[in-house]
Amino acid sequence: MATLSREQKIEAQRRMLRIRAFDERASKMVKRGHIPGTVHTSIGQEAQVVGATMALGEKDYMSGNHRSHGHPIGKGSPLGPLMAELQGKSTGVCQGKGGSLHLADFNVGSLGESGIVGSSIPIAMGAALSSQVLGRDTVALAFFGDGAANQGVLYESMNMSGVWNLPVIFLCENNQYALSTPAHTVTSGVIAERAAGFGIPGIRVEDGQDLLAVFDAVSTAVERARRGEGPSLIEVVTYRYNEHSEGLRLGTDYRPADEREAWLKKDPLVLFREHLISVEGFSAEEMDALEAEILAEVDAAVAFSENSPWPDPSVGFKDLYTDSEYAA
């Protein structure tokens, strides 16, 4: 069983707290009109995200989806430029051209979040192909949802990665809904079991609120990939506490009334805080201090963003190509 050191565990809690605090703040800002458009939060799914990103090394790659803030935060991206990107400011990690749906921070191996469901899965496969061809020991991980698990490109990617033994991990964040659609109504069989058809390991983490369980499963897949033994599919069962996207008001309630309550009792931040206190011997005061520290970090990120200028209009016409500017 892959385990985290005491320091790594604190780091994991720090990253989960960052995601929670960042997304709670972003949710408020959207509703107040301080963030344009909408955002999709990872609130409730922090253990699934951080359990996976903690299993990756600094140089490892990852691609993600519309539920997009947790992935770069989990990989260690600083909060200021991420928040500035959500607001469309010049200091944003993508200079204000991506927004919430398209965060990317190449400095931490984040190759980009995709607004098109399923579309970024083969991007991770390509990063794994680079590693293999160039003889690097980096691996790549693709985050996608239970909804994306029904896109054909996942199966093309699993097949190709399998036959080439590419160092890639397909990580399905099964939060049991794709927008309003319950996964079981559109998903034949068990997602993890689909791996068997490609002759690659398929692992289902039944309790995705348990950070250590996610970390263990992903670490095993990462080590396997690094040894040159090829890809794995990991399905992590989890739950999103908020609406599909912030501010979305659906006419019908597609989730049973008591379901959210039950999952709230398994809040990954509370569970891991208890673990840190009871198993690792941290005090409640230390945990409170950590939580306060993270809230201050998010305050600072928001201040950084608020104080940043809007991008110069000319920025809208740059970066289409490497060698030429837009010519109308």
Binding site: K97, A104, F106, L111, S114, G126, L129, E156, Y321
Partner: protein, 339 residues
Amino acid sequence: MSVMSFLGAIGAAQKEAMDADERVIIIGEDVEANVYGTTGGGKTRQETGDFVQMYGRNRIRNTPISEEGIVGAAAGAAMTGLRPIVDLSYSSFLYMAMDQLVNQVAKNRYMFGGQASMPAVFRSAMFYGLNTGAHHSDRPYPMFMNAPGLKIMVPSTPSDAKGLLRTAIDMNDPVLTFEACILWGLKEEVNDDEFWIPFGVARTHREGTDVTIVAISSSVHEALAAATELETEGISVEVIDPRTLVPLDKRAILNSVAKTGRLVVVEPAHRTCGAAGEISAIVAEEVFDSLKAPIIRITAPDMQIPFSPSLEKQMYPNKQDIVAAVRKITQKDKERVLA
């Protein structure tokens, strides 16, 4: 210099690039067995074998039939240090990878604020005019002209194919190449040394003073044949091949039309929203006052491509269409002068 076919020139550019840079890989269906003729050993085949023997399976990647996955993998690989050449064989198969081409390949650099570069080439051949029916005859380059972020080359001669492809492979932006299959056997003397033809520089195949013909892909050869015939009637035709549609050498086209005052645009793609329509609009916007006659587009109609040779033939611009169009827009002047 040596005599090369269009297909041989493409193979030569790929070989040069593979030799020059270890990050260049070739990925696609049936590339190992050199089914489409651009990953073969050519003259040195006896000694060195095909590309797969020369470069190994690490760099020559024979893929499953998974266009979306292939293009996505190439995009991810290009963003992380490789320089893939993707062989998509038929242009009609690009649609299978539309999401990856339009949403990832074309957008990622811009969307991520310049963090990504996408040094990948997506090659495909347009099998029109070969009785392959509606599913294999597409000439879809205009659709991709409408996706900012992609560069597009449409070579019409072996030399241009070699020099442009080499530039495309060495470039840090994604390039789609559209090769007319009916030109594959075309042969000419081609420089054996490495050479690079810049994008955005049109080639004037023939200078003239009465009419400008801008012709794309195989239409260049129809236009040149028409020009020869028209010369005997005393009509002097300038023939321009833009060679790359993104970027487009607007200056060469505008200068020529400013000189001749007449424009015919010829291409094998469908009429609506085609490259011919775009070029016509640019000319109308910029040098309308130089025009002595209406612009004429000669294109494939907005119709599917039928199988029967007797039905298919009529769908693409040919020499006679071009001759007739030029006569039409020059005759009026002559009538005016005579009157």
